[in-house]
Structures are given as C-alpha cells and as structure tokens.
Amino acid sequence: MTAASHLCPERELFLHGLADNELDAANALAVEGHMQICPGCAAAYNDILRQKQLLKGDGLRFRAPESLRARVHAMIAEEPGAKTETYAPAKITRIVQRRFHFGGAGAAFSAMALAASLMRFVYSPSRSPLLDDQLVAAHVRSLLVSHLTDVASSDQHTVKPWFLGKLDFAPSVIDLAQNGYPLQGGRLDYIGGRVVPALVYKRHGHVINLFLWPERKVAVPAQTLDGYHIVSWTQGGFVYAAVSDLNLTELQEFRQDLEKALSFN
C-alpha cells in the first residue's frame, strides 16, 4: 500500500468506513467529495477495496470438521433436560417462526420494530441530512452501539484534556452532578460534516447528549423529533445542542443550569 503514506491521516477511518459501507449518507458524501480532490486518499481507498476483495470468498473460511459436528450434536443430546427426538425440518421452521416472528416473542418483536424505526435515522440516505436529524441520529447511535463515551469519567478535569489535540477548539466541560445531572464522560462525534465533542450526562437513567461547536448562530430551534427532544442555544461563541428522551421541562432546566454554570466559568 504505497499510497497509504500520502492519505490524509484524519480521513483514514472514514475511508475504511466508506469501503465497509458503514458511513451515514452525509459522511459518505463528504469523503467521496474529498477523494475527488485528493489523489492520495483516492489511491488509499482503492487499495482498501482491492485488499477487501482479496480476503473475500469462502476459500479463507474454515469448514467445521464432520467429527466436530457429530460431537456437538451428541453433546447437546446428552445435556440434562434435552430430548433426543428429532424434528422434521418443517416443524423446526414452524417453531422458529413462532418463536422469532409471531407468538410468544413480544419482546423480540418490539425490539426489532424499535431497531427498524431507529434505522431510519441512522441509515436512510434519502432523508436530507438536516442538522436536527443528525443530532438525533448521533444520540440514538450512541445508545445503540454501546458507544456512549470514549472517555468515561465524571471528572471534568479528565474529560476536558482528553479532547485536546482531537479538536481544533477547546470545549468547556462542566459537571452538573450537584444539579442532578452527573457527567458520564465524552466522545467524538460527527455532526454537519465536522468532528464535534459530545458530552454525556445522565438524569434518572435518561441519557443526555450535549453537542457543541463554535458558531454564532443558533442552527436548531427547540423541538421534538420522534420522541427525542432537542434544546439548543448559543453562548460564548458556541452552539450547544442537548438531545435526550428526558421530558422537555427537565431538559430545559438542564439547559438553564448549564448556561448559568458556563457564565461563571
């Protein structure tokens, strides 16, 4: 991969994400646009695709030996409580359908329905990449993929330095534990085509994602999107956007408490 040395280091993970079809529409467009003007990244991307192709195919997978297969079946049959009766394939299909799609599996079904409804935010390329969508999508994503925090700490003096060198601005990090919103940590996220810090707070088990970036104009009015509230304001040259499923009143209180704390900062 000779071209690898000429790629833009900050784009590297995006190139892989694009090759793996793991980027949302906005980020995919941004990377594709960048590759039009950056031959180094374009070459590196082609190398990634070529290598993925090399590793694709069943030739590199292993087939479980028949002896292992037989041992595993025998082992299960001998497990206490297991019954050795063999089911006809049709019956198994019926059982599986019953368990996993229809009867008795209310929890599984509603989880699937929930996941499907969330997918709309995370993956739908047809939806215009509006800022409010992106904020809610980032919030949902943080809950879905057990990627709530990159730095998990309730100490603002640990979280703030973690962002140094990762951003081109220094975010204010304030713990609001004494107001009932303990800081959980922070992570990097991508909103509006840029890397932004997300600070994570909790309130009675509800997660609040606070995104901030330097800008003078409020880009998002307070609103509710599919059950998630967004409260946004500008302060000290930064836009703050808090996203949560917490009730709107408490989210507004969170905003007021944070505004006050920031003004003393």
Partner: protein, 199 residues
C-alpha cells in the same frame, strides 16, 4: 439464569423444542464459530475444543429469543472461550516464547484435500489462500480478530464492538491498523513466492 428455562419447563416436549430451535438457530453458525476459533488459536485441535466448549455454554445460556444477532452472540462466546484457554496456556507454559501458545500450522502451505490431479489454477488458489491465512495468523490478536470478523466473517462494526467488548471507535482504528499490517506483510509474501505465478 443458566438452566432455569430447562428446569422450569419440565415438559419434555418443550425441551425437545428448545433443542430443535437451538440447532436451527445456533448450530447453523458452526462454520463461523470454527473459522473464528481457527484464526484465534491457529491450531485445529484447540479450535475444535474451543468450539465444543462454546456450543455447550451457548446451549446452557440459550433462551430462544435471540433473533437476528445469534451469530454475533455465538462468536462472542467463542472469543471468551479462547481467552480462557489462552490465559491457562500462558500460565501453564511460562517458558513458551509465544504468549498465545500458537504455532503456525504447516497445513496452510497447501490446501486440505490437495492432490496431484488438482488443476494448476486451483492449486495456485489454494496456495494463495494458504499464504493469506498465514499472514492473517501473523497479526497480533486484537488486530487479527478484528480483521477476521470484518473481512472474512462480514460482521458490522457494531457487532464487532459487541463481540470484542470495545467501543466502535476502537474497532475502526484497530481495523485500519490491521489492514495496514496485513498489506505490508502481504506485499512481502507476494514478492517472494507469488510473483509470476498469479495471472
């Protein structure tokens, strides 16, 4: 939790159903489990033991409600079984130069079932696959497993994060590094033994 389903459902028909569902839902992924175990352990005998252990644990913990993500769940168990084995292995042989106790298997230099009558194109493909496997096996564990889960087992970043118990950002950076390591190593292999042989 383990076994509670079986003890509470004393009805034998239900147990049979439990087994049938398990076989249809979980054993369908036996090849995936074995592939991961082979790449993790780099030894076929240990891989078989680990898969057997993992299936037993999976069977005892199976609640029949796992839906779509049954493969990721099984692979996470395989990985845990591997880590348990690895910890014992390191403890048991302090003097071992290889901390993972693995030894590159000579079997990879050619494909299994390779015969003299094998057409040359297949032979070359088998040799290339053997060489690719060797390069993957030479990667350190976190990078090896990330690469195998993504590019060979085709798991999503989110699934890999769950299986390996790290944030998705870590998965992404490990994957990028794993691919770079593979590329560097593969380039060397290609130069020495495959130049001119491949179409």
């Amino acid at each position: 939790m383990q076994g509670s389903i079986l003890s509470s459902e004393s009805d034998t028909a239900r147990r049979g159903e439990h087994t049938a569902v398990f076989e249809a839902m979980v054993l369908a992924h036996l090849n995936s489990a074995y592939t991961l175990a082979r790449y993790l352990t780099r030894r076929s005998d240990v891989a078989e033991d680990i898969v057997q252990d993992a299936i037993l644990r999976a069977y005892r913990g199976f609640d029949g409600q796992r839906g779509e993500n049954v493969r990721a769940w099984l692979l996470a168990i395989v990985r845990n079984c591997f880590l348990t084995w690895k910890a014992k292995e390191v403890q048991g042989s302090e003097a071992s130069p290889d901390a993972e106790g693995g030894e590159p298997s000579p079997a990879y230099s050619g494909g299994e079932g390779m015969t003299l009558e094998t057409p040359e194109s297949i032979l070359i493909e088998q040799q290339q696959n053997g060489a690719i496997r060797s390069v993957i096996e030479s990667l350190p564990h976190p990078f090896r497993e990330t690469l195998v889960l993504r590019d060979i087992e085709d798991m999503s970043y989110r699934d890999i994060a769950e299986i390996t118990g790290v944030p998705i950002g870590t998965v992404m950076s490990r994957l990028a590094r794993a691919r770079k390591m593979f590329a560097a190593s593969w380039k060397g292999t290609e130069m020495t033994s495959f130049m001119g042989k491949l179409p």
